[in-house]
């Protein structure tokens, strides 16, 4: 007996449930659907009638979001099952980013940069742990508060926009489509963490971006010097654009992680975001300089860097620009190759 429609329905309900109860509810739901089907058909029922009966049964059950919501007690949690998986993910991204910055990057910079006595270095590291715990508490607290508010403010239908009146079981996505449009969870998480780190560093610690070297100046002991390289134009012209691009990318990644698969809308937004990145690169190539070596005090080094580094960077940007254009073409090709407007459509975005 061909019951792929039931399989697709159960899959759609299951993916909205917390992992802990998913398999069990899926098994029971499938069994219940089969009971209803068996009750209304017999061995002689042809395939068309069988499918029509499945559609009728699923219409009685209602949209997957409604059934999934029924299995979750409403508003008895600080953060309910609807968004709990996503909450864990975002909390992990925030905690991971802060840990990387405070426990890895900053200590390495401190050890490389400070020629202070060991006691001073240890004192600095202890202070950093204090800062880390404070930042961790503030970061995770903000995430938790945001999700707790979302849990109470979002209507039940906010994350699943299926309309019970117009929902048609025949529009359920194929499980194969789900596989084909599956997102790369690991890649997205890594990208999100790196983007968050980039945002933090460029906006709050711009002094870290520069040339680092160990030198002996004026008979002083050899020590680590970090020379800021970014111009004021970078912060007033380019950084706001970069911030917008990165924040939108983080939002897109979170939406993708929430939906669990690519859809036509998200593919198109991804193309637009990539095009925006290309625009920023183009502006950086053609606009005011974003690097300066004014802060460089060692004259010879300055002359050396001034002569070839800007050229090298511009060459890098041109290569980056060409690669980004290639990426846009590749993403558009995927949309046409997978015929995403047929398999996902614009109307069942939340399905």
């Amino acid at each position: 007996m061909e019951t792929k429609l039931f399989d697709r329905y159960v899959h759609e309900v299951g993916r909205r449930l917390p992992k802990k109860q998913r398999a069990d509810v899926e098994a029971e739901l499938h069994s219940l659907l089969m009971d209803a089907l068996q009750d209304r058909t017999d061995e002689g029922t042809d395939q068309d009638a069988l499918e029509a009966t499945q559609v009728a049964i699923l219409e009685e059950f209602g949209p997957p979001a409604k059934v999934a919501a029924g299995y979750a007690p409403p508003h008895r949690y600080l953060i309910g099952p609807r968004v709990f998986d996503l909450y864990l993910l975002v909390a992990a991204v925030v905690a991971g980013s802060l840990s990387l910055v405070f426990l890895v990057i900053l200590p390495i910079l401190a050890m490389l940069g400070e020629a202070e006595p060991l006691s001073a270095l240890l004192s600095y590291l202890v202070g950093m742990i204090d800062d880390y715990l404070g930042a961790l508490l503030a970061g995770l607290g903000s995430v938790t508060l945001t999700f707790a508010i979302l849990e109470r403010v979002l209507p039940d239908s906010a994350l699943d926009k299926e309309d019970e009146e117009t929902w048609d079981p025949r529009t359920l996505p194929e499980i194969e489509d789900t596989e084909r449009t599956r997102i790369q969870i690991g890649g997205l998480i890594v990208e999100t963490v790196l983007t968050v780190i980039g945002l933090i560093v460029f906006n709050f610690f711009p002094q870290w971006i520069g040339i680092g070297f160990v030198a002996t100046i004026d008979d002083a002991p050899a020590r680590w010097y970090a020379i800021p390289l970014l111009t004021q134009d970078f912060f007033t012209i380019y950084l706001p654009l970069i911030n917008v691009s990165w924040i939108l990318q983080i939002v897109l990644n979170i939406v993708l992680l929430r939906q669990g698969r690519w859809q036509l809308v998200t593919r198109l937004i991804d193309v637009v975001l990539t095009a925006f990145s290309a625009f920023i690169l183009y502006r950086m190539i053609t606009g005011p300089a974003f690097l300066t070596f004014e802060a460089l005090t060692i004259e010879s080094l300055r002359q050396l860097l001034d002569s070839f580094l800007p050229i090298l960077i511009k060459i890098g940007l041109v290569i980056g620009f060409i690669a980004t254009i290639g990426e846009i073409i590749q993403k558009l090709y995927r949309i046409f190759r997978d015929k995403l407007w047929v398999t996902t459509g614009l109307s069942n975005e939340a399905a």
């Binding site: 098994a27 029971e28 219940l32 009971d35 009750d39 209602g62 409604k66 029924g70």
Partner: protein, 106 residues
């Protein structure tokens, strides 16, 4: 816009749902058989309401359930446990008292 009277009727019925379901689970039933049993007795409950309700009653400690592979496919059977039986008795008493009081009012 939904008919307000219909909404009130739905709300009234919703309030009796737990008592209705518990009253039929002194013997093991799986979801679909329970729905049919209730339908035979004149109580129509949406499947999307009934099945999650069984889970919730189980998580509240009123029902026990287990998978059985007897029959054409595996099915999850639910039955009242001791707490469920006691709760059912209390709900029955409450219902009768409420029903009598309402009869006087109406």
């Amino acid at each position: 816009m939904a008919d307000p009277t219909q909404n009130l009727i739905s709300e009234l019925r919703r309030g009796t749902l737990v008592l209705t379901v518990l009253s039929q689970l002194d013997e093991e039933q799986y979801g679909y058989s329970l729905m049919q049993l209730l339908a035979e007795k004149g109580i129509e409950i949406d499947q999307s309401t009934l099945y999650p309700l069984l889970r919730r009653l189980e998580s509240q400690g009123l029902l026990e359930s287990e998978w059985s592979v007897e029959g054409s496919r595996p099915r999850r059977y639910y039955v009242l446990n001791e707490t469920g039986k006691e709760t059912l008795q209390q709900l029955k008493q409450e219902w009768r008292a409420l029903s009598d009081a309402l009869d006087h009012l109406l």
